[in-house]
Symmetry: C2
Subunit: 312 residues, 2 copies
């Protein structure tokens, strides 16, 4: 199947939304930007580095590529609107893989509320996915990383550590607990909480992609503050404790549940700071406070910027 055939197959699958004025098929797409601004972010995913075809289905890869980008949009306090997708595919990539990947992309777009408006398909020896996501702030200010103030509350929405535990399990050749594997394959960013956090007055926000401590370090540095986490507020999901036991039984005994929560990325939870008197809805868990100073602390101990693993 040539590029034009695949493009036609692929674009025929995507549904549209009210944000799309002109979808795929012309030189460029045309997307509504209702408040005269557009949020934009891009990522590249490379097989072997960001996903493995034996660990994730094509549909999983489609879901995850979209999720990680729309999570970035949500982390600005914006609503996902549109997606542009590039696929560099080896000549021997099964058409069924491309089809299932496309279905995953479309399904995650439907979950996040965005639409696929454009793309490109090319040949390459290395299976590579590029994603650009657009979003709409709905007239609100963007929630950046540099607005946290001493006294603010630190809170997270979404899951932490499940994806990292899932990756460890896959690396160890273990096939459960399913909740960890599922989160690694198809993270579920709490998209709607981005906009909600903005409306609640969040002072800084990001999505947890590299690990909670490392990512909060970005807020601490940008905002010139310290962040003090309380590990008792970081309660691992039961599946993480189960994963730690299974990993220990398999000889991977250096892993602990708190480590997964503090350093595991890719769940794409949202982490934000809020003014001290903010009434946080149930979706948000308070995990610490912003203080004057610098750095990220867990139970009063400093965590070096290169992360929890080295700290232990």
């Amino acid at each position: 199947m040539g590029e034009f055939g695949l493009i036609a197959r692929v674009t025929a699958k995507f549904s549209t939304t009210e944000d799309v004025i002109l979808g795929p098929g012309d030189d460029a797409a045309l997307v509504r930007a209702r408040d005269r601004r557009v949020v934009a972010t891009t990522d590249l995913l490379v097989e072997g580095r960001h996903f493995r075809r034996d660990w994730s289905s094509a549909r999983d890869v489609g879901h995850k590529a979209v999720a990680q980008n729309f999570a970035d949009v949500a982390a600005m306090g914006a609503r996902p609107t549109a997606l542009l997708i590039g696929l560099a595919a080896p000549p021997d990539l099964p058409v069924a893989w491309a089809d299932a990947f496309t279905e995953g992309v479309g399904a995650e777009c439907a979950i996040a509320g965005g639409a696929v408006v454009g793309g490109d398909i090319v040949r390459s020896d290395t299976l590579t996915v590029s994603i650009t996501a657009l979003g709409d702030l709905g007239g609100h200010r963007a929630i950046r990383r540099d607005g946290a103030r001493p006294g603010d509350v630190v809170a997270v929405a979404g899951s932490l550590g499940l994806s990292a535990a899932g990756l460890c399990l896959l690396r160890a050749g273990l096939d459960g607990p399913q909740e960890c594997l599922r989160e690694h394959r198809r993270p579920r960013p709490p998209y709607a909480q981005g906009l909600k956090a903005a409306r609640l007055g969040a002072t800084a926000m990001l999505d947890v992609s590299d690990g909670l401590v490392q990512d909060l370090g970005h807020i601490a540095r940008s905002s010139r503050v310290a962040i003090r986490l309380d590990s008792s507020a970081l309660v691992p999901a039961p599946a993480i404790d189960e994963a730690v036991s299974l990993l220990a039984a398999a000889g991977e005994d250096r892993r602990d549940a708190l480590g997964f929560l503090l350093t595991g990325g890719e769940d794409h939870a949202l982490a934000a700071t809020f003014p001290p008197d903010t009434r946080l809805p149930d979706a948000w868990t308070r995990i610490g406070v912003v203080a004057s100073g610098a750095g990220v602390f867990v139970d009063g101990r400093t965590v070096p910027p290169h992360g929890w693993d080295h700290f232990e």
Copy 2:
């Protein structure tokens, strides 16, 4: 150099514009969309398929990646505003290559009037560039491919055939004429003519990336019209005639100048249709007319959709 170091080096080089509210460094960028709509397009470029490091400098590749995307923006009748760039780089890619590539990206952005607002750098065995370009229609309607009407004039702005001749010369191991090689390495889309064509009332427009006949075929099909080209209006640049002579002397005697003009893509000229009474400025050359029917004709002969080469 790690990813963070390279990202810092790379983003430090880009200058900003009035369209940028928030540039690289946060979860996502924030770009002005003054008329409540944003034009968006994306491309993937893969080493060996879309560029060769021995034929094009890193700076050339940066220029060309940006040019082909902002040409798509211009072809909608829009003004380039912002660019997101992904670089998948092998571990042994010289830092000097990444630096020069980045300089090329920045320089072409300056030519087109856009700014780099975001990006991603990852490791990959295959050197790959992803580009997403955004643009602003300034309140005008988008010029699509489906608006050509019988009686309209067909015209082009920018060069045709030089890039294809340049590619042939490189393949034949010839190192001149420089004008052809230069256009292949750094195409110069007539960005400003996109907006100008929209203001002149263009009924359809695209950028010539796959070849004039093939691309006009998209307008013919989308608009359900025929396009009749007059080959006497397609005057090759002297460098193309020179290239044909050099290629013939090197044994490549199947090439003719008109073939390069009709099938050569990658100059990223703009091709558009205008109402019959439009006074075209000097930048535009009238090359044919729109008629009722279907297909693309040159001097009254049909050209099959797979192009001039097969037609000959």
